[in-house]
């Protein structure tokens, strides 16, 4: 449930894996039961902490994919081959395992239905995760806030939540999903086939006069390109919120 009260200091909590969903060959969703979870806002993340037998600890941030009204907390994790934490989460973790997490974190990159729109969501790779929480939240509330998602992935198999996005967009005239596939495209692909640039944003984004709320999430290079291009196109910097994640093991 959504709460507006002060959350107080964050503490580490234990979640238990109740399901693992294959999203793409490299990304999995971890469905967690977290006793005492006080609720979150779409767009927030958690820190996950792993402790080795010798006491060495590693922490990483993962966005919450589930909307606030869901019973379980869902994190979608993309495996980075040279990663310290993600390979364990995607390949080592099993049903019933426990996971240490701290959250929900962040009051900046968040959206509530009452905030309204129009919404301009721009994602690179697993940067879709916090935006998906917003899209799911919007759908759960049957919100009609006009929403456009521009989503950059390497190839069609790498598109996280592809089916769900297709279904949501097909059922909702106020939701538009535009994909760009930067590395390989399936036969007959008529969509974009390059990294997101200013010209693409000029075609897909709402005009500045519509005063959209923009949320941009992805690797640093994508976030910086998109945020500067939106400002150059005339969007107010305060309405362009960004969240970057670390090395993605390649460009998107």
């Amino acid at each position: 449930m959504e709460r507006t009260a002060l959350p107080g200091r964050l503490t580490w909590k234990l979640g238990r894996v109740v399901a693992i969903i294959d999203e793409t060959p490299r990304a999995k969703s971890l469905v967690l039961d977290v006793p005492g979870w006080a609720g979150h806002i779409a767009g927030q993340h958690v820190d996950v902490r792993l402790t080795a037998e010798d006491g060495y600890q590693a922490e990483r941030s993962y966005s919450i994919a589930s909307p606030p009204q869901d019973r379980n907390l869902v994190l979608t994790v993309e495996r980075l081959d040279d990663g310290e934490v993600s390979p364990y989460l995607t390949d080592g973790l099993q049903h019933g395992d426990q996971l240490e997490l701290r959250g929900p974190i962040g009051g900046y990159f968040t959206w509530r239905v009452a905030d309204g729109g129009p919404l301009l969501l721009v994602a690179g790779g697993s940067g879709i995760v916090p935006l998906m929480a917003m899209i799911r939240q919007r759908a759960a509330h049957q919100s009609t806030v006009p929403t456009r998602l521009l989503f950059s992935s390497r190839d069609i198999d790498d598109v996280i939540y592809r089916q769900e996005l297709e279904q949501l967009a097909a059922a909702d005239p106020a939701l538009t999903v535009v994909h760009t596939l930067t590395r390989a495209q399936p036969p007959g692909w008529t969509g974009y086939r390059r990294r997101i640039d200013r010209a693409m944003l000029a075609e897909v984004a709402w005009p500045p006069s519509a005063q959209p709320r923009a949320f941009v999430c992805g690797p640093t290079s994508l976030v910086e390109t998109v945020a500067s291009a939106l400002v150059e196109l005339g969007h107010e910097p305060q309405r362009v919120k960004t969240e970057r994640f670390g090395p993605s093991g390649g460009t998107i």
Partner: protein
Amino acid sequence: MTSDEQHLDGNAAGGVLGQIFAVEITTAQITCAGCGRDGILAETDVYATAMGTIIRCPGCGDALIRVAHGPQRYWVDFSGTRLLQLYVTE
């Protein structure tokens, strides 16, 4: 990978700072003691390692906040911050 890809933003410091502060800190306005730039903490540059977290001014690169963690303690160095303006909801 360029060095530019190594840093995150202030959203990533929300966890460690959230363990120290009782109020939401990533939406705080932070003023750099070095160059005087005002900004939102979520929009700063964050370098996180196993040893600790350094939050840098996106304008001049100076360290605004350094947090190191050890067993049962944090060391928090705020010498690079002139002012922190925190928003609280009633």
